[in-house]
Amino acid sequence: MAATQPNLTSVDQATLRSAVSSSSRPGRPGPLDASVTMAWRALLKIKHVPMQLFDVTLFPIMMTLMFTFLFGGALAGSVGEYVQFLIPGIFVMTIAMITMYTGHALNTDIAKGIFDRFRSLPFWRPAVLVGMLLGDMVRYTLAGMVVIVLGFIIGFRPDGGVIGVLLSLILVLIFAFSLSWAWTVLGLLLPTPESTMMVSSMVSFPLTFATNIYVDPATMPEWLQVVVNLNPITHVVTAVRGLMSGTATADQIGLVFLSCAVLIAIFAPLTMYLYSNKGSR
């Protein structure tokens, strides 16, 4: 490995000595500062490994086209009508499903040594996760835009207009941030990036399918309706449909915020607990 990269320069004693002697000791960074730095890292990763944008561009395209044309005719009589119903749902589903990569990314950091580096530095600990989640917002926004643009091309015309779509995006981003804490718990609990990915998928499929995204829950057996109505994603989809069609109610939005609060209240402290006690390897 070393042979292909001749390193011409070697360690210069004098420069090294002066570099080591530097006594510059800034104080601890604030929580926001540390979080922004970690978000910067997430963005740099996108820049250096653009491949990881595949899941936020191709996946939404695939989902939108597949479900619209596969089920559209059968479920709503015509593709044109189904698009109006489906796109807001696909919009939520795509972003919700992408959030599961958060656990995978965290677990990868742990598997490599960088996690130890972060943990041995005296900054506000949640910043590692908050920053990572903030960086993910860029990915989510991108994925959301792909769905909307593609939806527009195949006939989606939201009555809520640009404002409705933008508000939907903000609402879904808040929800995605909240849901991500569930994935970070998995990322901290599971032994390898691969197992994290597998378990996350197992969770995320029922989570996104047992909802009102594809069909009206009224057509489902009663027990499933109960599940669907408890599923936070159902509430998000209802609110987003409302926002995009310009008919959202305060109740609908309120339920989403409540779901977010519950998710964070359960999973954020759990994540931080696991994070602090991780490393007994």
Partner: protein, 326 residues
């Protein structure tokens, strides 16, 4: 209260994973500004010890003090003063060298501008300027190690922990890392490093603490450890392997001690107490017409120390290519 506090003071450190007792009461003292090597084979408990000292792990019992401060009770206070370079490079492979250092600098509270200045300075000091904008995944093992150490001294730590800093490196990179370690020591940094290489401990350490199966089995300078085994070793390499049995007989008679036959078919060694006997034995060999290519009289190697202490040789447990050169 003692007047001089040690940089590191560890007493009765214990740690178990389930039923496996990894550390069975480690005691360790490191003087300010010195370099202590934790020497031991794989699985001896070196990494566990160093991870506890670096606040990454909590001990089951025992006390750890860094400059008199309790690490377990006040981990953040310790984190301000110590830095760890782990066994596996703790850098982000997707990012460039410059970005990695800037990331650490930012997390330590530098402004964006200061972070860039400091990172550039460190890259130059570690001979990585040309690789500054290259992704770390394209670095060689030695470059990665250097970057890792650079990241550990963005703020010059008072204590630096190095967990097997040269494992897996080629000889040239190893020497570079040694140079870095020596320079850091000269600037007053206290260093605790773990290693399974005898040569490394011998080269760098003021004091060597030998651990095996979670317990300290020896503690002293390299010279002291060697003395505890015997006063000296005669080592001999013959020109022809066929003459070894004859040489063995002659030496056994002249020295009056058991002769150790080395793995290498031409070499022999013996522990002696009187150096004068060695020269007498030598002339007997010459008289018998046995030619040798190499003769040395010196202190025992650390490998022999380890063998004497534990009854097992370090080399045998090692999978890597490193061999002690006597």
């Amino acid at each position: 209260m003692t007047a001089v506090k040690h940089a590191i003071d560890v007493k009765g450190l214990r740690k178990s994973y389930g039923k496996t007792e990894v550390l069975k009461g480690i005691d360790l003292e490191v003087k300010r500004g010195s370099l202590v090597a934790l020497l031991g084979p794989n699985g001896a408990g070196k990494t566990t010890t160093i991870r506890i000292l670096a606040t990454l792990l909590k001990p089951d019992s025992g006390s750890v003090q860094i400059f008199g401060q309790d690490v377990v009770k006040e981990p953040d206070a310790a984190r301000q003063r110590v830095s760890l370079t782990g066994q596996f490079a703790s850098v982000d492979e997707d990012l460039t060298g410059l970005e990695n250092l800037m990331l650490v600098a930012r997390l330590l509270g530098f402004s964006w501008k200061q972070a860039k200045t400091r990172s550039t300075e460190l890259l130059a000091a570690f001979g990585l300027t040309e690789a500054a904008d290259r992704q770390v995944k394209k670095y060689s093992g030695g470059m990665r190690r250097r970057l890792d150490i650079a990241a550990s001294i963005v703020i010059s730590p008072e204590i630096l922990f190095l967990d097997e800093p040269t494992t897996g490196l080629d000889p040239r990179s190893r020497r570079q890392v040694w140079d870095i370690v020596r320079t850091l020591l000269q600037t007053g940094t206290t260093i605790l490093l773990t290693t399974q290489y005898l040569e490394e401990a011998d080269q760098l350490a003021d004091r060597i603490v030998v651990i095996d199966h979670g317990a300290v089995i020896a503690d002293g300078t390299s010279g002291e450890l060697k003395k505890s085994v015997g006063s000296g070793t005669v080592r001999l390499r013959l020109q022809q392997a066929e003459q070894r049995p004859e040489a063995e007989q002659i030496l056994a008679r002249a020295l009056g001690v058991p002769i150790h036959l080395e793995k290498d078919q031409t070499s022999l060694s013996a522990q002696i107490s009187d150096p004068d006997l060695a020269s007498a034995a030598l002339s007997l060999l010459v008289d018998a017409g046995i030619a040798f290519t190499d003769f040395s009289l010196g202190q025992p190697s650390l490998d022999e120390v380890f063998l004497a202490l534990t009854g097992e040789s370090l080399d045998e447990e090692e999978t890597s290519t490193e061999q002690e050169i006597a």
